[in-house]
Amino acid sequence: MATSPTPAAERENYLNTEYGIRSWLLTTDHKRIALLYLLLITFFFFIGGFFALLIRLELLTPAGDLVQADTYNKLFTMHGQVMVFFFLIPAIPAVLGNFLIPIMIGAKDLAFPRINLFSWYLLVIGGLLMMYTILTGGADTGWTFYPPFSTAFAKSQVVTAALAIFVAGFSSILTGLNFIVTIHRMRAPGMTWSRLPLFVWANYATSIIQVLGTPVLAITLMLVALDRLFDFGIFDPQRGGDPLLFQHLFWFYSHPAVYIMILPGMGVVSEVVSCFSRKRIFGYKFMALALIAIAVLGFLVWAHHMFVAGISLYAALVFSLLSYLVAVPSAIKVFNWTATMYKGSISYATPMLYAFGFIGLFTMGGLTGLFLAALGVDVHVTDTYFVIAHFHYIMVGGMVMAYIGGLHFWWPKISGRMYPEAWGKLAALIIFVGFNLTFFPQFVLGYLGMPRRYWQYSPEFQVLNVLSTAGATILAVGYVLPMVYFLWSMRYGKVADENPWGAAGLEWMTASPPPIFNFDETPVVTWEAYDYANLKEVAVEP
């Protein structure tokens, strides 16, 4: 953190109020905890990204030549587990949510500040277990842990990986719990539900999923551990256990988990689009409702991951039908973002570029979801690169774009400094190009029939794989850039004032960086969300 005297440091804020390791590791300030999370998940993002690069390099040629088959299997397993449980799921809620929710609702902190710190330590412990797993050889079950392979056949660190995710899961549950209670109990006077920014709504919907879904994953992984450690045989088909039961329980959490990742991203994009169009978000009520609808309906569709797994024909029909229902609120969101721009006053600052990217890529990801929910087509494309491309469009194209865009948007608030705008735009462009080059060819590969999790593949798939690997290297550059200039900007960036974007929202009405208790006095809210009509235009270079 910036220790040299800066203009912002003349006033006491959460960064300069105390120094030293202890003041960070024992802090209960939600803003400091958010930064602790930022450090932790950035670390895991680059670990997971490193695995991804190795995977792409291996797939440069059809033969398995760079790493051994077992190593490859461990690479995609650890890539999945690290990215899903230690980056995607905590990213927006635990970093941006943690930092912003109390400020956005005009509170001093979360409802349970000590539990908040405890959640971070849980994620650290989970992370240490994960690192232990990786360093002692890793797990090779795929991030999905399907038995009986995971319970009876895999000869790798399955139990420690499961334990790592179990612990990380409780971190996620406690964060969700904290948010729910905070949003219910800690809103400033006048901050009614219908005045909440959509970012808060999005995190609220996410928290519901975290609280209700995660425990099912936790117990399921514990049952896998029991099978493995004591040979209980709960999922062992040789003894009458049903491996599909595992899949049901696993996807009951892990499908909604996708919404844990994407909903907060939708929240970020709503804030950004509204700010850089200088317009109230179009159809606010429907946007909030759609978030909750996605959270609820998201729990009714899990078995669409299992259409070829051997579930009953009738169950497949039911789950396919329900899957289409959840597509409706997602469509509503895309339409409303687009409509928000209509007759706006649009500037192309970096966060807005990420928001454009998000809408485009999320649309692609969402529309290909329609293919996968169509039973007849799903049979052909499930477990192929089509699925890989689809969910990377949602998770990386959607969620990571939103996360990085959000970091840019709130960076002045977090650090009190501006990031370099030109570099920001360049990085956004590189990421967008790199992403599409990486993942678009995978749609084609998938329809051609290349199965996922293949260490070596048939030569006719090579050209598309080479394109994809080329894209991945570009993407890697794109991800390193922001990290470099964010660090740079903490010392050398232009000092940011209270509200550099001219944005609406309580977080822009306090100093940058905010004081320890966020506001000098508790704000009283008398205006609606996204009150751009009554906000003075601020000169932002287009």
Partner: protein, 102 residues
């Protein structure tokens, strides 16, 4: 827990109520144990689960004080928990229950 200090309403339930609930719970336990010794076929499970749910309701309403709770939100939370468990069970059985259909 910090945020909740003094927020919960201090509704003091009379001792008599608690003891009455306790006696009912004991009676229901004896009933369910006794009934289980009679072979009622498929009805057995229904009877056992109905009694268990009755007991659980008594615990939730009185011992856990939901009957006296002033915040509607808590009730929404509880109902949500039960509803989500129902989703898990019902939709899982949508698979298992129809596997033998041809």
């Amino acid at each position: 827990m910090v945020g909740e200090r003094g927020i919960m309403s201090a509704h003091v339930v009379p001792k008599k109520t608690y003891i009455a609930v306790w006696i009912t719970l004991m009676i229901l336990t004896v009933v369910t144990a006794a009934v289980s010794r009679i072979d009622l076929g498929k009805v057995s499970a229904i009877v056992a689960l109905t009694i268990a749910t009755g007991k659980a309701l008594l615990v939730v309403l009185f011992f856990m004080g939901v009957k006296y709770i002033s915040q509607k939100m808590t009730i929404v939370v509880i109902v949500a928990g039960i509803f989500w468990l129902a989703i898990l069970m019902v939709l899982s059985m949508a698979d298992y229950g129809t596997r033998l259909w041809s």
